[in-house]
Amino acid sequence: MKNLVNYIKAILLGIWNLLLGMKITMINFFRPKITEQYPENRGTQVMFERFRGELTMPHNANNEHKCTACGICQMNCPNGTITVISKQETDEATGKTKKVLDKYEYDLGSCIFCDLCVRSCPQDAIEWSQAFEHSVFTRSKLVEQLNHEGSKLAVKEKVTETK
């Protein structure tokens, strides 16, 4: 008899707990949905400012960047994502030859967004952008040249003076 009572008790308790669980899902049924509708919210979507979406090299209005082609970023990169191709250029005014940036190649397809390049850059020439829409059909499209065509090194006299 005691067994029977326990048996019925267990069943009723089980049913009660099942119903409580169903209550939870029902509460969630009526909760506001947390889904962020990505393509729909493209206009309003705000990314976190520190989010690392893609490496960029900011250029100013005169198509000038800050990269001196020192190659520290390339050295710090764990997996060869960055290739800095430099060339020797003779300054016509002074006659001195110096290394300037020719191509700054960045392979988005193997970048691991570790931030080592940006943090190690002595010139703050590169930074992260928040863009994340990168998908492409061709692998080679992921290798980007970060410096614009015909861009030059920005003249930074003040910095050199203080140093």
Partner: protein, 359 residues
């Protein structure tokens, strides 16, 4: 209330008398019409159900669910069906080719045959046997044969285990389902579905005086056992994804898989429909004895709406359960049937008999 007999006899009359088509051809045309109607209803319902499930599931999970294909995503399942119909069908080496192809047929046939026997509205059903309940129990087992064959013929270890599980599940839960229906047969005194519905004209079986208690218990038992039989809800062991990757239909691709997909949802609906017919008064409107005005208003709502409304409630309940509970283990499953549902069903049957005889 609108009687669908009017439509059918009008068509009959149109063909036979007005157009003067001979007897044989009239019948032939009518059969084709019925076939097309069944097929259309079947397909539309399945698509709607899949859509509903995905949407409801999403809402339970704090998501939105399909909303990009068509307004509110209502074309989602149409797209799915087009895709699935046009996928390659893969032939498995060393499988039992004949059984492999026949298996989906059983599954579809089981659900269509059961589907054809459901009274959707006043005068709106294709098959109405006087042993309707028996018929339903029989054809609903057909689907399991399909699952067993599918699992067996695929030459795959996962599918085999899935098939074995579904076999055990069916033989167990079939009993409770039958006993639950038996309880109502005792109350109605008939096995014919149309008669069972007619008997509920004044009051539905679940509100039937003292008999309401055993009827309600039988209702719940039937819902549980029915969903166990259709391999849904917490009883989806044969396709337990976390153990058997995709269960019995692992090797099915394209439309052959699509059949299982369709049939799963149709079976869910059929269980809801049978529960509606047998326990919730089928297409009968809600009547409260004494409230004549209220009853009168209720009568204005078409019978089909009543039927689908009630069935939708049962379906929603099934989805609610499915998206809340974890899956049972095979021994829990069998224990639940044989040690809980079975004794309760038997006792419930006796209770019902007492209720009917004594009150």
């Amino acid at each position: 209330m609108f009687d669908f007999k009017v439509v059918t006899s009008w068509i009959d009359d149109l063909l036979r008398v007005q157009a003067g088509i001979p007897e044989f051809w009239t019948l032939a045309i009518e059969f084709v019409l019925v076939g097309v109607a069944i097929l259309a209803a079947y397909a539309v319902l399945a698509l709607v159900l899949i859509y509903v499930e995905r949407k409801v599931c999403a809402f339970f999970q704090c998501r939105i669910g399909p909303n990009r294909v068509g307004k509110w995503g209502w074309l989602q399942t149409v797209a799915d069906m087009i895709k699935i119909l046009l996928k390659e069908i893969i032939h498995i080496n060393k499988s039992d080719k004949f059984l492999f192809l026949v298996a989906p047929f059983f599954v579809i046939m089981g659900s269509i045959l059961a589907f054809a026997a459901i009274p959707f509205g006043k005068g709106l059903h294709a098959i109405d046997f006087n042993i309707g309940i028996f018929y339903l129990l029989a054809v609903s087992s057909l689907g399991i044969i399909g699952i067993l064959l599918a699992g067996w013929s695929s030459n795959n270890k996962y599918t085999l285990i899935g098939a074995m599980r579904s076999g055990a599940q069916l033989v167990s839960y079939e009993l409770s389902a039958a006993l639950a229906l038996l309880t109502v047969v005792a109350l109605s005194g008939s096995m014919q579905l149309s008669v069972i519905v007619e008997k509920q004209a004044t009051v539905w079986n679940v509100f039937h005086g003292f008999a309401a208690i055993p009827a309600c218990i039988a209702f719940v038992i039937y819902l549980i056992a029915g969903h166990a039989e259709t391999n849904r809800g917490p009883f989806d062991l044969p396709e337990a994804e976390s153990e058997l990757t995709a269960g019995y239909h692992t090797e099915y691709s394209g439309i052959t898989f699509g059949f299982y997909y369709l049939a799963e949802y149709m079976n869910m609906f059929i269980v809801a429909a049978i529960a509606t017919t047998v326990f919730l008064g089928g297409w009968m409107p809600l009547h409260i004895p004494g409230w004549e005005a209220f009853n009168h208003v209720m009568d204005y709502i078409p019978s089909v709406v009543w039927f689908f409304g009630k069935a939708a409630m049962c379906v929603f309940f099934a989805l609610w359960v499915r998206w809340t509970f974890p899956r049972l283990r095979i021994d829990q499953l069998l224990k639940f049937e044989w040690k809980i549902l079975m004794p309760i069903s038997l006792v419930n049957l006796l209770l019902m008999a007492f209720c009917i005889i004594l009150f």
